[in-house]
């Protein structure tokens, strides 16, 4: 059960964490990164 909950939470956090990979270059590069 704990494993399932952890997987769901990780899945839910995915878009936020992976956003720099998801966005297209046209979306603009975050200023702080360079």
């Amino acid at each position: 059960m704990t494993l399932i909950v952890a997987t769901l939470l990780l899945f839910a956090a995915g878009p936020f964490v992976l956003w720099p990979l998801i966005k297209t270059p046209e979306d603009g590069v975050e200023v702080e990164s360079r």
Partner: protein, 667 residues
């Protein structure tokens, strides 16, 4: 009943499984963030640096979810969780039930991780100026520290363990912890401990990235000041709590747990001063790295001491089986830090010119050495039972060891506090020696007053005049500021502008002033405390240090979770009610409730020892001069820290006399 069963099932499912699931997800995310941040930092992959940083924010969010669920379980009395059962019960006031979050082993570890997540995220959000590489390494180190805590929380000390049978009530909080102080002292101390991880992470990241300029100092100093401010507040609150609750008439007992909270504070005090030498003069680079690292290592060491119970302490309620985990963590941190310093030692040469001994730089260096001396005294005093036990008979030192060994060092530090702010950078000329007239005159005057008042104890005759010298230096500096303001034309807008521009300096002076006030309070209450044990019948009176108390009788009161034997005493028009509380639900544990009448001059501190069969009552009465000065001085320090640490910081550039690595890093 079906409804209760359903409720129970929902709680177990929602709280326990989502809580432990969030911790596990947090662990996975923290490990991911650590590995990715180190890799992306070393390959300078800006997109992956961002992903690693976001993974740290997500880790913080998972820890926050777990914390919110644990708090919910506590305040809803969900006794299906072992943690809730072990640390609260139905009769405990709800504020203390909520405080159960950090009242036990598992919860306090979760709280530590939560503070690390919040402050770590804040420090990463504010790290844009440092360049992506250094910030990536810092994220990696913070994520690694978070991983350690989450491993312990998931594998060894989960706050979400479910009991096989849900009991109708819990065991309750330790009576010593059932006090208002519980609401503020532990969270502040634990937050202070956790906060030291931030400066450590950025210092180690700067070493990893090969960035030895003052940029990491400017960023780290603010978080070091946050940690220092929290730890100052935590130490003072601990003293206040010990004084008001433990009933032995004092506030500081050189207990190992107090000592291990004091040592990182000392190391950070040293760093906050020596970092200025690097900012202004480009010197003490390796030393500054060393101090920040030392402060964090002392925190981990302290946590190991508290949790392992390896040396005898009054904080035995914190002892548990996770000691070895912290010993392992301490070992890893130690090897990592020393290895890193050794690896980078070649690049840590000083860029500025050396200064003569009598200069601001020299004063800071001497102050640092004195503080390290105090740390050594406290460290060996704390470790003696362990070390002596390994080689033969276990030996324990008492307070007089600490006082005699660290007293002269503190006196020298006070003298430096009086002279240091007046010494210019680089070179001290005739104006400096002339400016010393003020603190010297102030200390001579106070010394004369003390001698005339019949004071003969050497420590008081040294400490109090030196504190007066510190105050006079601060007043002199403020007077110079007022003079500058008047010459500029006066007016409120100019005063505010002057304060804002030099807030770091004036904030620091305010902290010095507060510390001097604390020292006077410590000296007076320590050296001039009076104590008397008496047994009185109702109507009889006793006089201690000019304060007359009349005993008017005792009664027993039944309260929600305990009964109290209250003995009333009148002092002037005031009624003091020292009491002994008995907690029936906790095997009849008994606790004293001190009655204190406070004034700026002295505290009258009454402890009820017990009542006797002939109707008399026995008391221990203390008169503690100037104790309120300690708390007032502490408040001044905190105001000084806040004043010096608000708003945007003016960047003080380190003098550039050697090649400074680019924003990306040199290694």
């Amino acid at each position: 009943m079906p409804v209760t069963l359903l409720d129970n099932l929902i709680y177990v499912v929602i709280l326990a499984f989502i809580g432990s699931g969030a911790l596990l997800a947090g662990l996975v995310m923290a490990v991911f963030s650590a590995l990715l941040s180190f890799w992306a930092g070393s390959t300078d992959n800006s997109v992956m640096i961002q992903v690693g940083r976001r993974a740290f924010y997500a880790t913080a969010a998972m820890i926050f979810i777990a914390s919110a669920l644990l708090e919910t379980a506590l305040v809803t009395h969900d006794f299906s969780l072992a943690y809730v059962t072990e640390h609260t019960d139905l009769s405990t006031p709800i504020a203390l039930v909520a405080a159960g979050f950090y009242g036990g082993q598992e919860g306090s570890l979760l709280y530590w991780a939560l503070i690390l997540g919040i402050l770590g995220s804040a420090s990463l959000l504010a790290s844009a100026r440092l360049g992506p590489r250094l910030a990536a390494y810092a994220a990696g180190i913070m994520a690694s520290i978070a991983s350690f805590f989450l491993v312990v929380l998931v594998l060894v000390a989960s706050p979400f363990d479910v009991l096989a049978i849900t009991p109708p009530d819990g065991l309750g909080l330790n009576p010593v912890l059932r006090d208002g102080g519980m609401l503020i002292h532990p969270p502040v101390v634990l937050a202070g401990f956790a906060a030291f991880a931030i400066p450590f992470s950025f210092a180690a990241a700067a070493l990893l990235a090969g960035r030895f300029d003052a940029a990491w100092i400017a960023h780290t100093r603010r978080f070091a000041l946050v940690a220092w401010g929290l730890q100052s507040t935590g130490l003072l609150l601990g003293m206040w709590w010990a004084y008001h609750v433990l009933g032995w008439g004092g506030y500081w007992g050189w207990d190992p747990v107090e000592n291990v909270a004091f040592m990182p504070w000392l190391a950070t005090t040293a760093y906050l001063h020596s970092s200025q030498v690097q900012e202004r003069r480009g010197r003490l680079r390796a030393w500054n790295f060393g101090l920040v690292i030392l402060a964090f290592l002392l925190v981990v060491f302290g946590t190991f001491i508290v949790r392992s119970g390896i040396v005898p302490s009054v904080h035995t309620f914190a002892v548990s089986a996770i000691g070895p985990w912290f010993l392992g963590f301490l070992g890893v941190c130690l090897v990592f830090s020393i290895g890193l310093l050794a690896l980078r030692s070649g690049g840590l040469h000083n860029t500025g010119e050396p200064a003569p001994a009598v200069s601001r730089e020299g004063a800071f260096a001497l102050q640092n050495l004195l503080l390290i001396g105090v740390i050594a005294v406290v460290f060996w005093g704390t470790m003696l039972p362990l070390v002596s036990g390994l080689v033969g008979q276990e030996r324990v030192v008492n307070a007089s060891y600490y006082e005699r060994a660290s007293g002269p060092l503190f006196a020298a530090i006070l003298a430096l506090m009086a002279a240091g702010p007046l010494i210019p950078w680089r070179h001290a000329g005739a104006p400096f020696w002339r400016s010393l007239t003020w603190p010297a005159a102030a200390s001579a005057l106070v010394l004369a007053i003390l001698l005339a008042a019949g004071v003969r104890g050497l420590p008081a005759l040294i400490g109090v005049p030196l504190a007066a010298a510190v105050v006079s230096t601060v007043v002199y500096e403020y007077a110079r500021g007022i003079g500058r303001w008047r010459r500029a034309g006066g007016g409120w807008p100019r005063a505010v502008a002057l304060l804002a521009r030099r807030r770091r300096r004036y904030g620091a002076y305010l902290a010095h002033l507060g510390l001097a006030v604390v020292v006077v309070g410590l000296a007076a209450s320590h050296f001039w405390q009076q104590e008397k044990d008496v047994t009185l019948q109702a109507g009889q009176q006793v006089t201690v240090a000019g304060y007359t108390l009349i005993y008017s009788g005792a009664e027993t009161r039944e309260l929600a979770d305990h009964s109290e034997l209250v003995a009333a005493m009148t002092l002037g028009g005031q009624t003091l009610e020292p009491a002994r509380a008995t907690y029936a639900g906790l095997g009849g544990q008994s606790l004293t409730h001190v009655a204190i009448s406070s004034s700026p001059v002295a505290d009258v501190y009454v402890v009820l020892a017990g009542t006797n069969s002939d109707g008399s009552a026995s008391f221990r009465i203390f008169v503690n001069p100037l104790v309120t000065w300690i708390w007032a001085g502490g408040a001044i320090i905190i105001v000084g820290v806040i004043l010096g640490n608000t708003g945007r910081r003016r960047q003080v550039a380190e003098p550039v006399t050697a090649s400074v690595p680019s924003a990306v890093g040199a290694s």
